[in-house]
Protein backbone atom coordinates (compact mmCIF):
# COMPACT_ATOMS: atom_id res chain seq x y z
CA UNK A 1 0.00 0.00 0.00
CA UNK A 2 2.72 2.41 0.98
CA UNK A 3 4.22 2.05 -2.48
CA UNK A 4 1.28 3.96 -3.86
CA UNK A 5 2.52 7.05 -2.05
CA UNK A 6 4.72 9.33 -4.02
CA UNK A 7 8.26 9.41 -2.53
CA UNK A 8 7.89 13.16 -2.02
CA UNK A 9 4.95 12.59 0.32
CA UNK A 10 7.17 10.39 2.49
CA UNK A 11 10.23 12.62 2.42
CA UNK A 12 8.63 16.05 2.58
CA UNK A 13 9.73 17.96 5.65
CA UNK A 14 11.71 15.09 7.12
CA UNK A 15 15.24 16.02 6.05
CA UNK A 16 18.32 13.85 6.40
CA UNK A 17 17.73 12.98 10.05
CA UNK A 18 14.21 11.68 9.26
CA UNK A 19 12.63 13.51 12.14
CA UNK A 20 11.58 16.65 10.31
CA UNK A 21 11.04 19.80 12.32
CA UNK A 22 10.15 17.99 15.57
CA UNK A 23 13.13 19.46 17.48
CA UNK A 24 12.57 22.97 16.13
CA UNK A 25 8.87 22.81 16.94
CA UNK A 26 9.41 21.39 20.45
CA UNK A 27 11.80 24.28 21.18
CA UNK A 28 9.09 26.79 20.19
CA UNK A 29 6.30 25.02 22.07
CA UNK A 30 8.36 24.97 25.27
CA UNK A 31 9.32 28.62 24.63
CA UNK A 32 5.64 29.57 24.36
CA UNK A 33 4.90 27.82 27.67
CA UNK A 34 7.90 29.51 29.34
CA UNK A 35 6.65 32.90 28.15
CA UNK A 36 4.01 32.56 30.89
CA UNK A 37 5.82 30.33 33.38
CA UNK A 38 9.05 32.34 33.67
CA UNK A 39 7.33 35.56 34.87
CA UNK A 40 5.38 33.47 37.41
CA UNK A 41 8.60 31.77 38.55
CA UNK A 42 10.52 35.04 38.85
CA UNK A 43 7.80 36.65 40.99
CA UNK A 44 7.56 33.51 43.12
CA UNK A 45 11.34 33.27 43.55
CA UNK A 46 11.64 36.92 44.60
CA UNK A 47 8.78 36.60 47.10
CA UNK A 48 10.45 33.50 48.62
CA UNK A 49 13.85 35.19 49.22
CA UNK A 50 13.28 36.25 52.82
CA UNK A 51 11.32 33.19 53.95
CA UNK A 52 12.70 30.50 56.26
CA UNK A 53 12.52 26.81 55.36
CA UNK A 54 9.10 26.05 56.84
CA UNK A 55 7.41 29.04 55.23
CA UNK A 56 9.06 28.56 51.85
CA UNK A 57 8.01 24.91 51.88
CA UNK A 58 4.46 25.75 52.90
CA UNK A 59 4.22 28.30 50.11
CA UNK A 60 5.31 25.81 47.46
CA UNK A 61 3.03 23.11 48.94
CA UNK A 62 -0.06 25.09 47.92
CA UNK A 63 -1.63 23.10 45.05
CA UNK A 64 -1.58 25.97 42.55
CA UNK A 65 2.07 26.80 43.29
CA UNK A 66 3.13 23.14 43.21
CA UNK A 67 1.33 22.64 39.88
CA UNK A 68 2.88 25.70 38.26
CA UNK A 69 6.34 24.79 39.60
CA UNK A 70 5.94 21.31 38.08
CA UNK A 71 4.94 22.85 34.76
CA UNK A 72 7.85 25.28 34.91
CA UNK A 73 10.40 22.57 35.77
CA UNK A 74 9.21 20.25 32.99
CA UNK A 75 9.09 23.02 30.37
CA UNK A 76 12.44 24.53 31.34
CA UNK A 77 14.39 21.24 31.51
CA UNK A 78 12.97 20.28 28.11
CA UNK A 79 13.81 23.68 26.62
CA UNK A 80 17.33 23.70 28.14
CA UNK A 81 18.11 20.19 26.90
CA UNK A 82 16.97 21.02 23.36
CA UNK A 83 18.99 24.25 23.33
CA UNK A 84 22.19 22.71 24.68
CA UNK A 85 21.89 19.93 22.11
CA UNK A 86 22.03 22.48 19.29
CA UNK A 87 24.93 24.36 20.89
CA UNK A 88 26.94 21.11 21.12
CA UNK A 89 26.02 20.15 17.55
CA UNK A 90 27.24 23.55 16.33
CA UNK A 91 30.53 23.91 18.19
CA UNK A 92 31.86 20.46 19.15
CA UNK A 93 33.27 18.59 16.18
CA UNK A 94 35.36 15.89 17.87
CA UNK A 95 33.11 12.82 17.46
CA UNK A 96 33.76 11.07 20.80
CA UNK A 97 33.53 14.34 22.72
CA UNK A 98 30.32 15.35 20.96
CA UNK A 99 28.64 12.02 21.72
CA UNK A 100 29.86 12.14 25.33
CA UNK A 101 28.57 15.69 25.83
CA UNK A 102 25.22 14.94 24.17
CA UNK A 103 24.72 11.95 26.48
CA UNK A 104 25.85 13.96 29.50
CA UNK A 105 23.35 16.75 28.71
CA UNK A 106 20.48 14.30 28.08
CA UNK A 107 21.13 12.41 31.32
CA UNK A 108 21.83 15.51 33.43
CA UNK A 109 18.61 17.25 32.40
CA UNK A 110 16.51 14.09 32.64
CA UNK A 111 17.87 13.62 36.18
CA UNK A 112 17.31 17.29 37.04
CA UNK A 113 13.70 17.00 35.86
CA UNK A 114 13.08 13.76 37.77
CA UNK A 115 14.72 15.01 40.98
CA UNK A 116 12.69 18.24 40.78
CA UNK A 117 9.43 16.37 40.22
CA UNK A 118 10.11 14.05 43.16
CA UNK A 119 11.04 17.05 45.33
CA UNK A 120 7.86 18.98 44.42
CA UNK A 121 5.84 15.82 45.06
CA UNK A 122 7.38 15.40 48.53
CA UNK A 123 6.70 19.06 49.33
CA UNK A 124 3.11 18.94 48.06
CA UNK A 125 2.12 15.64 49.69
CA UNK A 126 3.81 16.01 53.07
CA UNK A 127 2.67 19.54 53.81
Amino acid sequence: MSRLRHPWAVARGLGSAKEGVAHWWAQRVSAAALLFLVPWFVITAVSLIGLDHANARAYLAEPMNATLMLAFVLAVTWHARLGLQVVIEDYIHTPWLEVALQLLVKFAYALAALASVVAIGRIAFTA
Binding site: R28, A31, A32, L34, L35, V38, P39, V42, V46, S47, I49, G50, H53, A54, A56, R57, L60, M69, V73, V76, T77, A80, G83, L84, V87, A108, Y109, A112, A113, A115, S116, V118, A119, I120, R122, I123
Partner: protein
Amino acid sequence: MATQQRPLSPHLQIYAKQITSTMSILHRATGVVNALGVLALAWWLVALAAGGEAYAQFSAVAGSLPGKVALFGFAATLVYHLLNGVRHLVWDMGLGFEIPQVYRSGYTVIALAVIFTGLLWYAGLGVGGAA
Protein backbone atom coordinates in the same frame (compact mmCIF):
# COMPACT_ATOMS: atom_id res chain seq x y z
CA MET B 1 39.48 35.82 -13.00
CA ALA B 2 36.27 36.92 -11.39
CA THR B 3 36.81 34.84 -8.27
CA GLN B 4 40.03 36.67 -7.36
CA GLN B 5 38.33 40.04 -7.24
CA ARG B 6 35.74 38.93 -4.76
CA PRO B 7 36.16 40.14 -1.19
CA LEU B 8 37.41 37.60 1.30
CA SER B 9 34.81 36.42 3.73
CA PRO B 10 35.07 38.61 6.82
CA HIS B 11 37.22 37.10 9.51
CA LEU B 12 35.64 37.10 12.96
CA GLN B 13 38.46 39.11 14.57
CA ILE B 14 38.24 42.02 12.14
CA TYR B 15 34.49 41.84 11.59
CA ALA B 16 32.72 45.03 12.61
CA LYS B 17 30.34 44.26 15.45
CA GLN B 18 26.66 44.93 14.83
CA ILE B 19 23.82 44.85 17.28
CA THR B 20 22.20 42.07 15.25
CA SER B 21 25.08 39.58 15.50
CA THR B 22 25.93 40.60 19.07
CA MET B 23 22.36 40.05 20.24
CA SER B 24 22.22 36.76 18.38
CA ILE B 25 25.26 35.30 20.13
CA LEU B 26 24.09 36.81 23.43
CA HIS B 27 20.84 34.86 23.05
CA ARG B 28 22.87 31.66 22.88
CA ALA B 29 25.23 32.61 25.69
CA THR B 30 22.38 33.60 28.03
CA GLY B 31 20.57 30.38 27.09
CA VAL B 32 23.58 28.30 28.15
CA VAL B 33 23.87 30.23 31.44
CA ASN B 34 20.13 29.76 32.06
CA ALA B 35 20.56 26.03 31.45
CA LEU B 36 23.08 26.00 34.32
CA GLY B 37 20.52 27.88 36.39
CA VAL B 38 18.07 25.01 35.79
CA LEU B 39 20.47 22.70 37.66
CA ALA B 40 20.63 25.22 40.53
CA LEU B 41 16.82 25.27 40.54
CA ALA B 42 16.76 21.46 40.88
CA TRP B 43 19.18 21.72 43.81
CA TRP B 44 16.96 24.34 45.48
CA LEU B 45 13.83 22.17 45.12
CA VAL B 46 15.61 19.04 46.37
CA ALA B 47 17.00 20.97 49.37
CA LEU B 48 13.56 22.44 50.11
CA ALA B 49 12.05 18.95 50.10
CA ALA B 50 14.88 17.34 52.08
CA GLY B 51 14.53 19.48 55.21
CA GLY B 52 15.89 22.36 57.25
CA GLU B 53 19.51 21.24 57.29
CA ALA B 54 19.78 20.76 53.52
CA TYR B 55 17.95 24.05 52.99
CA ALA B 56 20.36 25.83 55.31
CA GLN B 57 23.25 24.48 53.21
CA PHE B 58 21.63 25.77 50.02
CA SER B 59 20.83 29.13 51.62
CA ALA B 60 24.43 29.50 52.81
CA VAL B 61 25.73 29.01 49.26
CA ALA B 62 23.02 31.19 47.70
CA GLY B 63 23.65 33.92 50.28
CA SER B 64 27.45 33.93 49.86
CA LEU B 65 29.07 36.50 47.59
CA PRO B 66 29.63 34.07 44.66
CA GLY B 67 26.10 32.77 45.18
CA LYS B 68 24.65 36.26 45.05
CA VAL B 69 26.68 37.12 41.95
CA ALA B 70 25.34 33.95 40.30
CA LEU B 71 21.73 34.70 41.28
CA PHE B 72 21.89 38.31 40.11
CA GLY B 73 23.56 37.06 36.93
CA PHE B 74 20.81 34.48 36.36
CA ALA B 75 18.22 37.26 36.79
CA ALA B 76 19.89 39.27 33.99
CA THR B 77 20.38 36.32 31.59
CA LEU B 78 16.84 35.05 32.19
CA VAL B 79 15.29 38.47 31.47
CA TYR B 80 17.36 38.95 28.32
CA HIS B 81 16.73 35.45 26.97
CA LEU B 82 12.99 35.73 27.63
CA LEU B 83 12.64 39.14 25.95
CA ASN B 84 14.85 38.29 22.98
CA GLY B 85 13.02 34.95 22.78
CA VAL B 86 9.81 36.88 22.09
CA ARG B 87 11.68 38.59 19.25
CA HIS B 88 12.66 35.19 17.87
CA LEU B 89 9.08 33.88 18.12
CA VAL B 90 7.86 36.91 16.18
CA TRP B 91 10.50 36.23 13.51
CA ASP B 92 9.34 32.60 13.41
CA MET B 93 5.91 33.90 12.42
CA GLY B 94 7.61 35.64 9.50
CA LEU B 95 7.23 39.16 10.90
CA GLY B 96 9.68 41.98 11.59
CA PHE B 97 12.41 40.99 9.13
CA GLU B 98 12.98 44.44 7.57
CA ILE B 99 16.34 45.79 8.72
CA PRO B 100 14.90 48.94 10.41
CA GLN B 101 12.41 46.70 12.25
CA VAL B 102 15.18 44.32 13.32
CA TYR B 103 17.16 47.22 14.81
CA ARG B 104 14.08 48.73 16.46
CA SER B 105 13.09 45.43 18.10
CA GLY B 106 16.73 44.90 19.11
CA TYR B 107 17.01 48.24 20.91
CA THR B 108 13.57 47.68 22.46
CA VAL B 109 14.70 44.33 23.87
CA ILE B 110 17.92 45.85 25.27
CA ALA B 111 16.04 48.74 26.90
CA LEU B 112 13.38 46.46 28.41
CA ALA B 113 16.04 43.97 29.56
CA VAL B 114 17.91 46.74 31.40
CA ILE B 115 14.67 48.00 33.01
CA PHE B 116 13.38 44.57 34.09
CA THR B 117 16.80 43.41 35.28
CA GLY B 118 17.11 46.61 37.31
CA LEU B 119 13.66 46.09 38.83
CA LEU B 120 14.52 42.48 39.69
CA TRP B 121 17.84 43.44 41.26
CA TYR B 122 16.11 46.18 43.23
CA ALA B 123 13.45 43.71 44.40
CA GLY B 124 16.11 41.15 45.30
CA LEU B 125 18.18 43.66 47.25
CA GLY B 126 15.13 45.18 48.92
CA VAL B 127 13.55 41.88 50.00
CA GLY B 128 16.84 40.19 50.86
CA GLY B 129 18.08 43.20 52.78
CA ALA B 130 21.54 42.83 51.23
CA ALA B 131 21.83 46.47 50.14
